[in-house]
């Protein structure tokens, strides 16, 4: 153990039951790597969005099993932890084009949906604070739009499925709901269609050709002078540049 005074304060943690001392500012993932674990799987963006590194932990003297993303959750003294890199929940394969955006399609893919007992373990474990039990309840009554809305923050980490009494793969079911809602139930964005049509009819042809002809210095200048949305701005902000618009 290092005695170097410049090293950060160390705290004891228990990884899969074995005691280690790690710097108190480390996340679970850094702490595990610090103690010699090497992640080949169960580690992705390290930025808290990909959902690959779900971890479960318990605090000293507390019976609650808590969860977090290993790359985001900072260790605490006497934390008992383990990473849960993958959960073998069933993910059905289906043909999106021919799947009707109706409750019956979701029921046919995941009939185990009806085995939910409303125990709420899923919502309690969700590191993204998604109301998992509520979106399952919405799907049981066929409300795909509601389920899509309520599961929007899901990062597919699978912790909900790991705790489920009814053995539901909630996160995969919700993904079907979001896909059906997004592609088949929500209104189409007309301005997007208009802009795509404008691009196809060559509205930006001249501007693109101009860019293609530009030399390295001009490209650099253009890049450095590009207009960025200010960090603090309201909805009224509009870009000055109106190339092709």
């Amino acid at each position: 153990m290092s005695t170097n005074a410049t090293v950060e304060n160390l705290v004891p943690i228990f990884i899969m039951g074995k005691r280690y001392e790690v710097p108190e500012t480390f996340t679970i993932m850094k702490a595990m790597e610090h103690t010699g674990y090497k992640f080949l799987r169960g580690c992705g963006c390290r930025g808290g969005v990909c959902g690959a590194c779900s971890a479960v932990y318990r605090k000293a003297g507390d019976y609650h099993i808590r969860s977090g993303l290993a790359c985001q959750t900072v260790v605490e003294p006497d934390m008992y932890l383990a990473q849960l890199p993958f959960y073998p929940a069933l993910r059905q394969v289906y043909d999106y084009a021919t799947t009707e955006a109706a409750a019956a399609a979701v029921f046919a893919l995941y009939p185990e949906l009806f085995r939910c007992v409303a125990c709420n373990a899923c919502t309690k474990i969700c590191p993204m604070e998604v109301q998992v039990m509520d979106y399952v309840a919405a799907l049981k009554r066929g409300d795909i739009l509601q389920a899509a809305e309520q599961s929007f923050d899901c990062i597919q980490c699978g912790l909900c499925a790991s705790r489920c009494m009814g053995e539901l793969p909630q996160y995969h079911i919700a993904q079907v709901a979001r896909r059906l809602a997004g592609g088949k139930l929500k209104p189409r964005a007309q301005h997007l269609a208009d802009m795509l049509a404008a691009i196809q009819t060559g509205r930006f042809g001249d501007a693109l050709a101009d860019l293609r002809r530009a030399d390295k210095d001009r490209l650099r200048t253009l890049y450095e002078q590009r207009e960025l949305e200010p960090e603090m701005t309201g909805e009224e902000w509009r870009p000055q540049a109106t190339v092709g618009l």
Partner: protein, 137 residues
């Protein structure tokens, strides 16, 4: 009546388990057969043995034999038998206890994935919820 043999210690223990899960004392059944007469599922002719015979099997400790017969699995817990029972036994709870002893070994009686697509699309959700509650672990 067919001779069903004497009860072993192990059989007695399993039979006791039925009483525990159901909260009923199957020993109180006096074999009057009111339950069988009241059972609308027995009236369809689909049950291999009537509920009275199930109670008798349990009294003799033959829980496994009761569990492999369809009777308990056919019960929809309509409570028609309970209304008529002169000993006020809650038979649907006894049938549930028989099913639970099997289901708790993680056995599906109705596999959700095996329910035909057309049924899943047209049946009321309550049919699936109820069937999976009573017929899956």
């Amino acid at each position: 009546m067919q001779f069903l043999g004497t009860r072993s210690a192990a059989a007695a223990e399993t039979a006791h388990k039925i009483n525990e899960i159901s909260g009923q004392n199957v020993g109180r059944c006096m074999q009057c057969g009111q339950c069988s007469g009241a059972c609308p599922m027995f009236a369809t002719g689909s049950l291999p043995v009537p509920p009275r015979r199930i109670m008798h099997l349990l009294q003799l400790g033959h829980v496994e034999r009761a569990a492999v017969l369809e009777t308990a699995w056919c019960c929809a817990a309509c409570h028609a038998c309970e209304v008529r029972c002169p000993r006020s036994l809650d038979l649907p709870k006894v049938m549930e206890a028989i099913r639970q002893l099997t289901l708790r070994r993680n056995v599906d009686f109705v596999a959700p994935g095996a329910v035909p697509r057309a049924v899943l699309a047209s049946a009321p959700p309550i049919a699936m919820v109820a069937a999976f509650r009573r017929l899956t672990p």
